[in-house]
């Protein structure tokens, strides 16, 4: 299985490659990708440098072009596809039909991976993307149980990539409007969920803190309570007279213990989430997964979790908590 790691900037890309990533994925500094955060992503010179760094070491670079252009802005996405081809990216990761169609027609030799944002959860949906746009790989949404992933590996027309670790979108990716409902800024169109410019922290006299996303109270914290970044899906709300994390707690996905099953199912690649995270996260998480994958490659029958792996990953998890998420039925 290939290890695909996040590169939010050039230092993160280098850290991922140094720590053993087989491929990294990156985005341009605009709204053509789903991590369009201020200060993140690559300009042309950085992308060229990153590609050279990866290619000199025999690794790959994928360009994420996984947002949804409206009719008035399509030329920007098409130009990004052209740039990926011109720079020699090993693949683009795209979700939107027009972007995939343009890439397939204009640069047929450049590989096209279906982004998780494309929401393809069945063999039929994957067949559509394969027949229509010649995708050569698909990233599965984080909604399927491990059994469903195993079955889909058998029926898919293309190799599959699954999320292995990182922040957990609990909604079907590409089809969540919670952030735009509150802020008006659409993750699909503008490439960012819960934009920082809409986040407002309030310190109260008693030491408590409140956090709002464009006026909507997402959560309130006691003086010593750790507070996470306010996304709607990880806030505390009142339902039926009780206040709790009604949708999900601040937690990260961690599938390390499923590694042998994913490998046996025929999963082609494991994806680490986190282009918005720093060099320390990327390096450390990549090293742990590299070690786990190497150990499995060398001795699959005797593979087991090694001491230190899980604590190291948990350190980098949201709220220091991890979950098997949808891979495990009990999460549903």
């Amino acid at each position: 299985m290939q290890l695909v790691c996040p590169a939010g900037n050039l230092p993160a890309l280098q850290a991922a490659i140094d720590a053993g990533a087989d491929a990294v994925y990156a985005g341009l500094r605009d709204q053509t990708n789903a991590r369009a955060f201020p200060g993140l992503n690559f300009d042309d010179a950085e992308l060229r440098a990153g590609m050279a760094y990866a290619h000199q070491r025999g690794r790959q670079v994928y360009l994420a072009l996984n947002t949804y252009p409206d009719s008035a802005r399509m030329s920007q996405w098409y130009a990004a596809v052209d740039k990926a081809a011109e720079f020699g990216c090993d693949a683009i990761i795209a979700a939107e039909l027009a972007v995939l169609d343009y890439a397939a027609r204009t640069h047929p030799a450049m590989k096209r991976h279906l982004s998780v944002q494309g929401s393809a959860t069945t063999a039929a949906a994957l067949r559509y993307m394969h027949e229509r746009f010649g995708i050569s790989r698909a990233v599965l949404p984080r909604v399927l149980s491990i059994q469903q992933v195993e079955r889909l590996c058998e029926g898919s027309p293309v190799p599959l990539e699954v999320f292995a670790f990182g922040s957990l979108c609990i909604m079907v990716e590409g089809r969540c409007q919670l952030s735009s409902y509150v802020t008006g800024a659409s993750p699909n169109r503008q490439g960012v969920c819960s934009p920082a410019k809409f986040v407002r922290w309030e310190e109260h006299a008693d030491g408590r803190r409140s956090v709002r996303l464009n006026h909507v109270l997402i959560d309130r914290f006691e003086p010593q309570e750790p507070a996470g970044y306010p996304t709607v899906c990880k806030g505390r709300f009142e339902v039926g007279g009780e206040i709790f994390h009604a949708l999900e707690e601040p937690t990260s996905l961690n599938t390390l213990e499923l590694l042998p099953r994913l490998a046996q199912a025929g999963v082609a690649a494991l994806k680490i989430e986190g282009r918005q995270r720093g060099v320390a996260y990327v390096g450390s998480v990549t090293r742990t997964w590299r070690a786990a994958l190497d150990r499995y490659r060398d001795a699959p029958a005797s593979w087991s979790l090694q001491p230190g792996w899980q604590p190291s990953l948990a350190q980098h998890a949201e709220g220091h908590q991890t979950t098997l998420g949808p891979y495990h039925r009990a999460w549903h």
Binding site: P69, L97, A98, S119, A124, L144, Y181, V216, D219, V239
Partner: protein
């Protein structure tokens, strides 16, 4: 301009559901969408029942469309979709790409549902080549996007498909593998006892300040506000909107239909009966008055 009843998003008891649609047979709507779009475990009406209801309602002169699940995970769910498509007598509302592909393979016309993620004219044209005949834009697509898309279609010398807008109802905002109703009731999804049947208009979720915010509806999250595009009818006409979609709510649906029936016949915009839909104006979907 035509009126449609969108698919029932909630889980109602069998008799209530059948009674609702028998009443709807006499309402001035031209199109009725039938079927389960949220959770395959909801089986007060099974696939056979929905198809039987569809065949019955065709007799009332309505166009019947069978709606597919927005999120398909299990083989059994794909099996249901194959039966809907395989029937062949009804258009399908394709709410994910599995449905698009099955309709395409079968050569069956389909409606592009609001969860298909069509944001531009080229994607729309590609899907029209696959059999899309009608398009229901997603909830966040406002009038500017639609106007630009329409102009781009003209520029590309393509005809628009029929355009259907969500004109009334709670907006479907998100779907998950997780059932949030089960989570709120502290039961496992696999042993949920179908408790969402106790919440025929969804389960209210409020902020910690008590401001109503969202509705939990099984694996779906909706906005709290029942939105109403009625007052925008003059703009909708100008944009060439063909169909107004009204999502079923438990109470007063006959009056809602009557309101929109009168509104589509009148030249002036009707008065507001629901919340302003901010998305339509390029703003947050939540209307400002509901923000704390």
């Amino acid at each position: 301009m035509q009126l449609s009843l969108g698919p029932l998003q909630y889980f109602w008891p069998r008799e209530r559901t059948l009674a609702f649609y028998r009443e709807a047979a006499d309402w001035p709507v031209e199109i009725i969408y039938l079927g389960e779009t949220v959770c395959s475990k909801r089986r007060e009406l099974g696939t056979r029942d929905w198809i039987a209801l569809a065949e019955e309602l065709v007799g009332s002169g309505k166009q019947i469309v069978l709606s597919s699940l927005a999120l398909i995970e299990a083989e059994s769910e794909l099996g249901v979709l194959k039966r809907l498509v395989g029937h062949g007598g009804f258009w399908i509302e394709a709410n994910d790409l599995s449905a698009v592909q099955l309709c395409r393979e079968q050569g069956l016309p389909f409606v592009g549902g609001p969860t298909l993620n069509i944001y531009n004219h080229h994607a729309l044209a590609l899907l029209m080549d696959d059999g899309l005949r009608r398009w229901v834009p997603g909830v966040e697509q406002g009038h500017v996007l639609l106007r630009e898309l329409r102009e781009a279609m003209q520029g590309a010398q393509r005809n628009m498909p029929q355009l259907e807008l969500i004109a009334f109802g709670r907006l479907p905002l998100a779907y998950s593998a997780r059932c949030f109703t089960a989570r709120a009731l502290d039961v496992a999804k696999d042993q949920c006892d179908f408790r969402c049947i106790e919440y025929p208009d969804g389960m209210p979720l409020a902020t910690r300040e008590g401001t109503p915010f969202l509705r939990i509806n099984g694996i779906q999250i909706q906005g709290e506000e029942i939105t109403d595009l009625g007052p925008e009818l003059p703009t909708l006409r100008e944009l060439g909107v063909d169909i107004l979609r009204l999502y079923p709510q438990l109470d007063g649906m006959a009056e809602v239909v009557a309101h929109f029936d009168a509104a589509r016949r009148a030249p002036a915009a009707p008065s507001r009966i629901g919340a302003r839909n901010g998305y339509w104006h390029g703003e947050p979907g939540m209307q400002p008055s509901s923000l704390a």
